[in-house]
């Protein structure tokens, strides 16, 4: 168990862990949610079966849609699979490609992916897909300031804007965890993640009513392998965001600090366990709140904004 893995292999493992773990996480959340509601729920492996089924099916595109409609899911999945290279997924030390982009770099990739999917939805001419993409863009424009303030907090706390640096700062002492700026930034980020992954109180994940949909409606016209990639993409996004929350903000422990095989395997298990723990919290929130009306979402976002701004304020006085 003490064989040291070469660095490129670890880097590849980061991407593979996220790529293969993401559907499982969705399955776990669906299962927990069903158990909380007293239902038996789908199998944990159900999202894998769904993806496998969709990959075998025929792909159709609406009339008049250009090559962009078919390219968008590929671009989105590529962007999502690039992000695990930039954030601490398995290791405490930065891997060679880990410094090619900072937090903003990761943010750009996330925005790029959601932009191409939204544009592809516009291409179809389907009213519901267009409604969804226009709403998704509107609301992501108002959550952007929250993300920026969270990034400011990170930058002030560490003096850099590298995710690895914040994780190291949080690990360094208990005082770094129990400080308002850190806790407020983590809370604001969590609220943004609920919004970005389309969970209650912003959007129901399992609803079938098109008028309440935001993100879900964008994939209406995709089919076959392309629909599979859109679905897989949103599962990847969910696991990536949970990884950022758990490995950078809340619990950057259990990561491998050496290149030993045993440490890396332990880190993979720890990451999946932490993501499932975050998922359980999300499932509880999903079951205990009602979906907000569309025009009330601004209030939710303003609360997140308030928390993020307070985080920056507390730092300016020192001792935050």
């Amino acid at each position: 168990m003490s064989a040291a893995l070469p660095v490129p292999v670890i880097q590849l493992l980061q991407v593979l862990t996220v790529a293969l773990g993401a559907p499982g996480l969705t399955g776990v959340i669906a299962k927990v949610e069903a158990r909380l509601q007293g239902r038996r729920g789908p199998r944990v492996l159900q999202p894998y079966y769904d993806l496998a089924k969709l990959f075998r099916k025929e792909a159709l595109a609406p009339e008049g849609a250009s090559w962009f409609f078919l390219a968008a899911p590929l671009v989105a999945v590529t962007a999502y699979l690039t992000i695990p290279l930039l954030i601490p997924v398995l290791t405490t030390f930065g891997l060679p490609l880990g410094y090619m982009g900072d937090i903003l770099g990761g943010g750009f990739l996330l925005s790029l992916a959601s932009f191409v999917i939204a544009t592809a939805a516009l291409e179809t001419g389907s009213p519901y897909a267009q409604l969804g993409s226009s709403r998704a863009k509107t609301f992501s424009a108002i959550t952007e300031p929250v993300v920026l303030f969270v990034v400011f907090t990170v930058a002030l706390l560490t003096g850099t804007d590298l995710p690895y640096a914040l994780a190291a700062t949080v690990r360094s002492s208990a005082g770094q965890i129990i400080r308002p700026a850190h806790l407020l930034a983590a809370t604001a980020l969590f609220m943004v993640i609920l919004h970005e992954t389309g969970r209650i109180p912003v959007e129901t994940h399992t609803g079938t009513n098109e008028f309440g949909m935001i993100e879900e409606a964008r994939s209406f016209e995709h089919s076959g392998p392309f629909l599979a990639m859109v679905k897989w993409g949103s599962e990847l996004k969910q696991l990536i965001l949970y990884t950022i929350l758990a490995d950078v903000f809340l619990a950057p422990w259990g990561l491998a600090s050496t290149q030993k095989l045993g440490a890396v395997i332990l880190a993979i298990a720890a990451l999946l366990a932490k993501a499932c723990a975050v998922g359980c919290v999300v499932a509880v929130i999903d079951n205990s709140f009602a979906k907000l009306r569309l025009f009330k979402i601004t209030e939710y976002v303003s609360a997140a904004f308030l928390i993020a701004v307070l985080g920056v304020f507390t730092l300016y006085l020192g001792g935050g």
Partner: protein, 230 residues
């Protein structure tokens, strides 16, 4: 101070409690149901007792345990009880006024929160510029208390109903207790208790005011007070 340096666990905990109290103050600004406002006030008051216990444990001030117990008995149990009884008496039940809803009628909740952020910023940076450093005072908690005072004033201004204004005033008192705790935690117990009983006076006055107002205008809103009467 260099922001990359952590302030230590005790200061961090005190600051976090103060920050959560400020967030609850913002929650009051958003909350439309009077009963939930009372609940939020209870939570905020419970937090100040917790803060007193934290300071007592860290600074070895046994007096503060007594203060924490007294303050919890008064603010978490007694005052909310009085407010609830009052609300159930003034609740119209079948009237045309929606029971227990205390809208602002002047600002939407989102804009009220944005205005609150501006107020909090003013309080923050003014106190930050004063550079008060008590022996037990995390400077941040003091600035948070100042921000809370201003946001509580804001709450009393934007709300049009007497109960929200009363709760705004009570939370104002919470903010001042917070400031007193962090700046002068070594104050003699008798003085701290005297401050607490100030709150009782306010409760009595507000109770009377609410009841008189309700019997005169049959509503809890102050909107009809703006009319001139000959």
């Amino acid at each position: 101070m260099d922001p990359t340096q952590a302030p230590g666990v005790y200061e961090g905990a005190a600051n976090v409690i103060a920050a959560v109290m400020l967030l609850i103050e913002f929650g009051l600004l958003r909350q439309a149901l009077v009963r939930d406002q009372v609940r939020l006030y209870m939570a905020q008051s419970a937090l100040i007792s917790v803060l007193a216990i934290v300071i007592a444990a860290d600074r070895n001030l046994p007096d503060l345990y007594v203060l924490a117990a007294l303050s919890a008995a008064l603010k978490v149990v007694a005052v909310p009880l009085v407010m609830r009884r009052l609300l159930s008496r003034t609740d119209p039940g079948d009237g045309d006024e929606a029971p227990g809803v205390a809208g602002s009628q002047t600002l939407s909740p989102a804009s009220a929160v944005l205005a609150g952020i501006v107020l909090a910023a003013i309080g923050f940076f003014c106190f930050g510029a004063l550079k008060i450093h008590g022996p037990a005072a995390p400077a941040l908690a003091l600035a948070l208390a100042a921000a809370m005072v201003l946001v509580a004033f804001g709450l009393m201004i934007v709300r049009r109903d007497v109960t929200s204004q009363a709760i705004g005033f009570f939370t104002l008192e919470n903010a001042i207790s917070l400031a007193a705790l962090v700046v002068a935690s070594g104050l003699p117990l008798i003085l701290e208790t005297a401050f607490l009983f100030d709150l009782l006076v306010a409760v009595v006055v507000f109770t009377l005011l609410i009841r008189v107002h309700h019997t005169r205008s049959e509503s809890l809103s102050t909107a009809d007070l703006t009319r001139l009467r000959g």
